[in-house]
Subunit: 474 residues, 2 copies
């Protein structure tokens, strides 16, 4: 009866067609990797910021919890409801307008449900670059990108989603609208609410729109591969490339030998321009002048690095198609891992300077404790972000191995991350997956501060409860 | 008696020589522009983070308010005590170590009391660049830079102090230490406490140390001047320069005709390479390749701009000395203003695209309402940050004019800023100066969120009370 009253009120606010409580709701209740399946009291799809505010006021009046969802592409179970059947799933996908592009200010104002690729294209149509780029860009949304502070492949030059955001529009748990859609690069008028909501994973309020930074489109983008004998050499090459190319260096990815061996095994048709090496680096330069200038820059960088023994071999793409093929090689690693079978993923960050020691230590510990495990290591070295993945031993029973060893392997890896001053979540967030890990590992002072902020901004603990922070104490 | 007990306890914690309550304390009680004079219960100078924590625990036990201070170079009265004689002035200047420089990670860890120029020099000694640079760099401190989110002359390329900070160490009002000295470029493990403390002007806790981003030093830095007929042309030139030079463009300053006329009048010895123009732009390029490359880039940019009528004249510096002289010209404007007499300063930010309309509207309104006022307009156009200053009419009684007109002039200017979507404080902060203005002009929803956060993190309202936000309600 109370449930009916809530649904009837929600239907009156957003229209009956936008309140779903019957039939197959798995598009919203099940995450895309099929790891978390929840049950929503209803899926509500408001069509405007005013409707989001009205929905939140209604949920506040009923004391009902709200889980916000964008493209449902998250990796940590932060955007699907829990199994209680009591939570309202607030889908933002109907708020999908590009409200404005201001070329002279190099900004665009976009609604939360706009798909990243649509926003990228709108910027491109205006002759500009929105430099946020990640694997899920065809279906993830701007709101989700900001709620999780998404990373991706261009962080080295342009920063995370956080650094690309100048302003936000947010609806508070009580349904008030904060219009912080500033397109300002400087604004020292009080606490930075924007940065508090970014990365808060829907636990403090609902992001409904954002002002994003745009950049001039580079005239040319060029890619190269380089073979390194060690991670130390990769780090030295990174330093050299940063000095040499300045802000022109937009990508610096490493790929371990096993990562590329798996691609060779499962996707033999994908060209690998360099013979196997302990580490293969993908470098990208975006150039404001010309392709020729980028090539000259690459050639002098790589010749010097070869002469100084930092690299053993290199290949510069001679066309855009070759550049794309090099990126395709990098992007095929997770797919090759999936073909190879079950594995454990770690999305970790470390100070760049600590990466060689971290990998040497942790590889050795894992090999000693779990004989036969295979380390598929790759990632955004320029940002200190490794996808330090563990593939089960060749030929073994993968399911069995994971059941017995997944937890102790995670513990070993996260202990090592902590010992080297790193983070257990570089770009994916905490959600449901790492909430308990975070409660164990984050500084108690930081956790207490986070809980105070949560209590202050969501005193009824109704926004995405049980995600990021502990279950609410009732 | 109670006061004695507090001072005795503080002396026991940090040593009697570091607790000052007698004699001339104006170095701490009076701001450098002599606009705010307070009276401290004591000046306390801890020598370590542990001592800061002990001092804050002691002040918490006594229920005493604490005002943090770095180099005392603030412009808004945020770092001096009020007149009550009850507040402890916590001076951070003895925490001045550069704790570490990590060249491979491009970071440095610096204590709050370290003078900015000392930190810049330490980075330079390691062959790296700390790109925060502002007029007060010889005496301002890193802690103050972060507490106020300082801006300066390189924001266009490197961002504000906020964007240069990867991690913080903070002591809470209760004297707990949060060690968030992460050197990570990616870390999605909960609310971003770092960004909450940055720009909070000492009202939430005390920053004791920070990890700052460093950059490779550019091989060459080169400056040019260009004459524009209108602000519209300046904005078009900015867009052109950003496309042409990419991230190489590190500075883009505008100087209005009256600003340079005052420099010509009061400092005739300072060379002005271009004849008077409605607007003169100073452009700076930092180049990772060579001075020759920077020059070629400038020449092709300026030739194209000349051919297309965006600029009427230009001069490229032919040496480092000439580059410095061009910056000296820009930096002499505030001094020339001071020579000319009393004036009203406005540190405002606008979307870059709105600047021409804002200036045209506001100039016209001021001229109509206050006949004879002279507009000395200059600033960081690339960041949308104008120092939109008002000089009293020539020959009039300046003190008289200000007494009658300062408040209505501020109201007119800030109304116009709001109408154009701008900020009343771009880089100087709020402090005591603009607190009431902020309470009037900031969105009530944002103010309510800020007050909730303040209440959550400083429930006794003891950290820099009455600054930034309202006086505590007692």
């Amino acid at each position: 009866m109370a449930a009916d009253a809530l649904l009837a009120q929600l239907a009156a606010l957003v229209g009956p067609a936008q309140v779903l409580s019957d039939g197959d709701l798995s598009a919203w209740e099940l995450d895309w990797r099929k790891r978390w399946r929840g049950r929503a009291r209803a899926v509500v799809r408001p069509g405007s910021t005013a409707e989001v505010a009205a929905v939140l006021r209604c949920c506040a009046a009923h004391g009902v919890a709200v889980v916000s969802q964008g493209g449902n592409t998250g990796l940590v179970g932060g955007g699907v409801p829990d199994g209680s059947g009591t939570q309202v799933l607030l889908s933002l996908t109907r708020l999908r307008q590009v409200r404005a592009i201001d070329a002279a200010n190099l900004t665009m104002t976009v609604e939360a449900g706009c798909v990243l690729q649509v926003a990228q294209q709108a910027a491109a149509d205006a002759g500009l670059l929105l430099p946020l780029s990640l694997a899920a860009e065809g279906s993830c949304t701007i709101g989700g990108n900001l709620a999780t502070n998404a990373g991706g492949t261009q962080v080295l030059r342009y920063g995370n989603a956080r650094e690309l955001c100048l302003g936000l529009e947010v609806v508070t748990p009580d349904g008030e609208v904060w219009n912080g859609l500033s397109g300002l690069r400087k604004d020292n008028t009080g606490y930075d609410l924007r940065h508090l909501y970014i990365g808060s994973e829907g636990t403090l309020g609902v992001i409904t729109a954002a002002v994003l930074r745009l950049y001039p489109r580079p005239v040319a983008t060029m890619t190269a591969l380089a073979a390194c004998a060690s991670l130390e050499a990769c780090v030295a090459l990174l330093q050299r490339a940063q000095r040499h190319a300045g802000a022109g260096l937009t990508g610096f990815e490493v790929m371990g030998t096993l990562a590329l061996a798996l691609v060779r095994r499962h996707f033999p048709q994908i060209p690998q321009p360099l013979p196997p090496a302990p580490w293969t680096v993908l470098l990208e330069i975006a150039d404001a002048e010309s392709a020729e200038h980028a090539r000259t820059l690459f050639e002098s960088l790589l010749e010097d690095a070869l002469a100084d023994g930092l690299i053993d071999d290199a290949a510069v793409a001679s066309s855009e198609a070759q550049s794309r093929a090099m990126w395709h090689l990098r992007e095929s690693i997770p797919l090759a891992q999936a073909e190879e079978g079950l594995n454990i993923k770690h999305d970790i960050a470390l100070p760049v300077s600590r990466i060689p020691a971290f990998v040497a230590d942790t590889d050795a510990q894992l090999a000693a404790a779990f004989p036969g495990v295979r380390l598929v290591n790759f990632g955004h070295l320029g940002d200190g972000n490794l996808h330090y993945n563990v593939q089960v031993p060749e030929g073994g029973n993968a399911g069995d191995f994971l059941r017995r060893h997944e937890h102790p392997i995670n513990t070993l890896v996260y202990d090592a991350v902590q010992a080297h001053g790193g983070s257990i979540s570089a770009e994916h967030g905490i959600g449901a997956l790492k909430r308990e890990e975070l409660a164990q590992r984050k500084s108690p002072v930081a956790l207490a501060l986070m809980r105070s902020i949560k209590q202050a901004l969501d005193p009824q603990q109704r926004m995405n409860p049980g995600r990021l922070l502990d279950e609410p104490r009732r």
